[in-house]
Amino acid sequence: MKFTKDHEWVRVEGAEAFVGISLYAANALGDVVFVELPEMGKTVKQGDAFAVVESVKAASDVYAPVSGEVVAVNDDLPNAPETINAVPEAGGWIAKIKLSDLSELDGLMDQVAYDAYLDTL
């Protein structure tokens, strides 16, 4: 699993990747009560705001950690947004993106680097 500085995660499976928000982000956000998923088939660029997660207090953009086409979205989330708090780095995935540029992964942090980054915050 790899992470961005904006606290998204990516888990690559072949040419596709599941993406979501990290445990740190889920905790910082608090109770998620609404999720706006990206549209299926949409092409996103790394760094684009492509989804929104909302807590009672605030709305937060989720930025695409990689570029590519949205090939699946987690349809369970609109009805059970709390899944993001419960299992943000597994069942709380937001979308699956077909990668258009594998080299982007090299710019992301692995778990050790991400944990070290969190220590600096």
Partner: protein
């Protein structure tokens, strides 16, 4: 850029020890949440939530001229406020705009006890001091005997929720004899406490003004009850919004009058008849129908929460006004909001749309409060 120096309440260390997430609020380092806004909100609606509201301003006005001083600044009939009762009052600018909202208690036959918003307190206290000093604001004789004291040595707690009375009965049984908007002076943990049966959550509950140096003991004592949990500002906001209560800086500011803000109940008929109210001509004109906008409650039928600043649109997409507060309601499971629209669109049931991230979502004007209040009212005889 210099970093803002935040002030602390006497309970800051306790909030941090309880794991609160602290945020800057009105110049203070305040707890926004402990275990989470949703859980805290629901706990307050079901049991009893304890809020540190010591950042708010507290003051006392006593003496023969106290009523004249307060009436020079607000549209409230303070002469009619009985000892042991409390009123919601609005501090008005010369043009009738709202400068702050206050809770004013009359815990004994003479003297008024004020609780004012943290962000407004310096301004408010200056205005009160000026009114007392300025003989032109009222008959000099009436204003000569006024004592105004800012109570910096007192902290303020709010215990809110249906079980607040069960907790209070153990500590200060006499306070449980009060009804909604009653107030009094009580002995609590060996100290003098000014307690009112009110709050800002829509629930039954108490606000307790207590010596700052002992408030830690009271906080600990209240939290020792299994019925009580500490609640942060996050849930305080969602609770007051469900209760339909306007918040200064959101639904109210100097740009709005009490007519627009739908707070006519804060102006007594006797004062309107006397006409000695700041901005009276504007207020009368608006009451007569010359009103461009009015505060309404809005329920989102389906879609994301509409936050402060979201546009309110009519069915054709024309902009009607703006959302002043919005939140996904933890009690109702839908998103709710307050905002301003022209009076023609303010009727209950009017279909509107709220724009979130550029997209319109169906909503409707509903009645306030969103969630029925649980006040302990005096039975009607």
């Amino acid at each position: 850029m210099s970093e803002e120096i935040l002030k602390s309440t006497p309970l800051e260390d306790r909030h941090i020890a309880l794991g609160a997430r602290m945020v800057p609020f009105a110049g203070y380092n305040m707890p926004v949440q402990y275990e989470g806004v949703l859980a805290e909100h629901k706990w307050t609606r079901a049991s009893a939530g304890l809020f540190d509201v010591s950042h708010m301003g507290q003051a006392r006005i006593t003496g023969e001229g106290a009523i004249a001083t307060l009436e020079a600044l607000t549209p409230t009939d303070f002469a009619a406020l009985k000892a042991g009762r409390q009123k919601y009052a609005l501090l008005l600018a010369e043009d009738g705009g709202i400068l702050d909202d206050w809770m004013v208690s009359r815990p004994e036959a003479e003297g008024f006890f004020l609780v004012v918003n943290a962000a407004c307190k310096d301004q408010d206290f200056e205005i009160i001091a000026d009114a007392i000093a300025d003989d032109e604001n009222g008959p000099p004789d009436e204003l000569e005997d006024v004592e105004f004291e800012v109570l910096t040595e007192r902290a303020l707690l709010a215990l809110q929720g249906p079980k607040a009375k069960d907790v209070m009965r153990e500590l200060c049984p006499a306070a449980c004899d009060m009804y909604f908007m009653d107030c009094g002076t009580f002995e609590l943990l060996g100290e003098t406490a000014f307690i009112s049966r009110s709050g800002y959550t829509g629930e039954d509950g108490f606000e307790i003004s207590f010596p700052a140096e002992r408030v830690g003991d009271l906080w600990d004592e209240l939290l020792s009850s299994p019925l009580v949990k500490p609640i942060g500002l996050g849930a305080r906001d969602s609770l007051r919004l469900e209760a339909g209560m306007p918040l200064y800086g959101h639904e109210m500011d100097a740009g709005y009058t009490l007519v627009e803000a739908n707070l006519g109940f804060a102006m007594q008929k006797s004062r309107l008849e006397r006409g000695d109210i700041r901005g009276i001509d504007r207020i009368r004109a608006q009451l007569g129908g010359d009103l461009a906008r009015v505060r309404v409650a809005i329920r989102v039928l389906a879609g994301p929460p509409a936050r402060e600043g979201a546009k309110i649109l009519d069915g054709d997409g024309e902009e009607l006004g703006v959302v002043t507060s919005g939140v996904p309601s933890p009690s109702l499971g839908v998103s709710i909001a307050m905002g301003y629209v022209p009076p023609a669109f303010s009727a209950i049931g009017t279909a509107v749309q709220l724009e979130v991230r550029g997209k319109p979502y169906a909503a409707e004007i509903v009645s306030l409060p969103f969630v029925a209040n649980g006040y302990h009212r005096q039975p009607k005889s």
